[in-house]
């Protein structure tokens, strides 16, 4: 470094001979490789960080994917609910304990209401004396046709897909929902004729 101080390219100012001359800052790059795009150190530095973040990225993705199992051991979403003649006009709780579905029969049509409150997902109860569904968690109330009329629930209960299977039984598929606020309730699959 002593050579740098005596560098003639940076002579001390004439008026201030005692002031130390400014040193030029030595470039970090190796002078024998100054025509290369990458200094060796920068290349290996970036390669190291790239390898590290790539490895962590792959592992992170694997961990995240692992948290979503391929198979869920949950009850099947569709079931057969017997024949139309098994039901009388009104709300049937026959399949509520096992399947969380009410089967509602009206004069003209039948449909399946999913027994999940549209507020925060509790199971409402059918109160036959008051002819309404009432949620025990926060007090949402629904008429027998599933339309909300009291409490915090923002929208009516959802209907499950209902159809007649080949053997003439009612087939209900809970994985397909029909929502009143999307005008789904007149669509085929949202009801069957009574």
């Amino acid at each position: 470094m002593a050579d740098d101080v005596k560098d003639p390219a940076a002579p001390p100012a004439a008026g201030a001979p005692t002031k130390a001359p400014e040193r030029p800052i030595a470039p970090i790059t190796n002078p024998t490789h100054e025509n290369h795009i990458w200094a060796r150190r920068s290349f290996f530095g970036l390669a190291g960080w790239g390898l590290l973040s790539g490895t962590l990225g792959v592992w992170g993705t694997a961990f995240l994917r692992m948290l979503f199992p391929r198979v869920l051991f949950e009850p099947p979403s569709s079931f057969k609910a017997g024949f139309k003649g098994d039901f009388t006009v009104g709300v049937s709780e026959k399949f509520t304990p096992q399947q969380s579905v009410w089967i509602v029969k009206e004069a003209e049509q039948m449909y399946a209401l999913i027994a999940i409150c549209t507020h925060l997902g509790c199971t409402p109860r059918w109160l036959s004396l008051e002819q309404k569904f009432k949620c025990p968690c926060h007090g949402s109330g629904f008429k027998s046709n599933g339309v909300n009329f009291e409490g915090p629930a923002p929208r009516p209960l959802e209907r499950a897909k209902i159809s007649i299977a080949d053997d003439g039984q009612i087939l209900i598929d809970k994985s397909v929902q029909f929502r009143w606020e999307k005008n789904d309730w007149g669509k085929p699959g949202s009801f069957i004729p009574a």
């Binding site: 869920l72 949950e74 925060l120 997902g121 509790c122």
Partner: protein
């Protein structure tokens, strides 16, 4: 008659033995230098400042709310480990194990209730601590980073309570977690009923009820045995570990930021 050894000689033999001195490097001589060494060279105490301002130990200033929060955390750790010897996070066993703990295991009811009440105390006191820090202006620079760490610790505390709530596996806990996790449906970008969900689902097929933030938490589309196991692991391993790491940082930063803030 047996002559008893000289007491001072015995004392000397114990306190100047290699075993004693290898554990306790400094005697209790009460001088400023030794007091500093006591704190600085002890693994349990070295997080503390070597000297305290007189106002910092005044109960009417800090209410000791942060210290009591940590105390309640230690109580939940000690009682929680004991409960883990009996509790199995499996759908068929969880609730019977709780009943066994409650009605048959000696001191089981005491341990379970201490765990529960200490958890309640921790949640209450963490808010009290936050209120005190706010009212004394202790969140201001140079302590603003420690306030952020404290907010993270508040979140960890609440998540510990939330995950612990499911473990009794009774109607109350299942429906409470159903309600709590249903809010995850509305997570922006990541919940299937949240903002942007339909667009992302149309493009990538993700962010559906089957693959979204809520099913990640529940391990399925509804609260079931996989949820119980997930919440157990989060409650007993993940959250306490993250919480402990943040607590170490939180306590260390108090010292690095100049000790407990002074009166205004």
């Amino acid at each position: 008659m047996v002559k008893l050894p000289d007491q001072n000689e015995l004392k000397k033999q114990v306190f100047e033995s290699q075993i004693w001195r290898s554990i306790f490097r400094h005697s209790y001589q009460d001088n400023p230098r030794n007091r500093v060494l006591q704190i600085a060279s002890n693994v349990w105490l070295h997080l503390h400042p070597v000297k305290m301002q007189r106002h910092a130990i005044r109960l009417s200033y800090t209410w000791c709310a942060g210290g009591l929060t940590f105390f309640f955390f230690l109580v939940t750790v000690a009682t929680g480990v004991v409960l883990m010897f009996y509790y199995r996070p499996v759908g068929e066993y969880a609730f019977p194990d709780i009943q066994y703990l409650e009605f048959d295991v000696p001191f089981g009811m005491l341990m379970r209730n201490m765990h529960r009440w200490a958890a309640h105390g921790m949640v209450i006191l963490v808010w009290v601590h936050m209120f005190r820090v706010f009212m004394t202006g202790s969140y201001k620079p140079p302590r603003e980073f420690n306030w952020v760490v404290g907010v993270l610790l508040l979140t960890i505390t609440l998540l510990l309570s939330f995950t612990g709530y499911l473990l009794p596996w009774d109607q109350l806990s299942i429906w409470a977690v159903t309600v709590g996790s249903n809010m995850g449906r509305a997570t922006p970008m990541a919940g299937h009923q949240g903002p942007m969900a339909e667009q992302i689902a149309a493009m990538t097929g993700l962010v559906t009820p089957r693959y979204d933030a809520r099913s990640l938490l529940l391990g399925g589309t509804q609260v079931g045995p996989p949820t119980l196991l997930r919440f157990y692991v989060l409650h007993c391993i993940f959250l306490p570990m993250v919480g402990s790491a943040l607590m170490i940082l939180h306590f260390w930063r108090i010292r690095k930021d100049g000790g407990i803030s002074g009166p205004l």
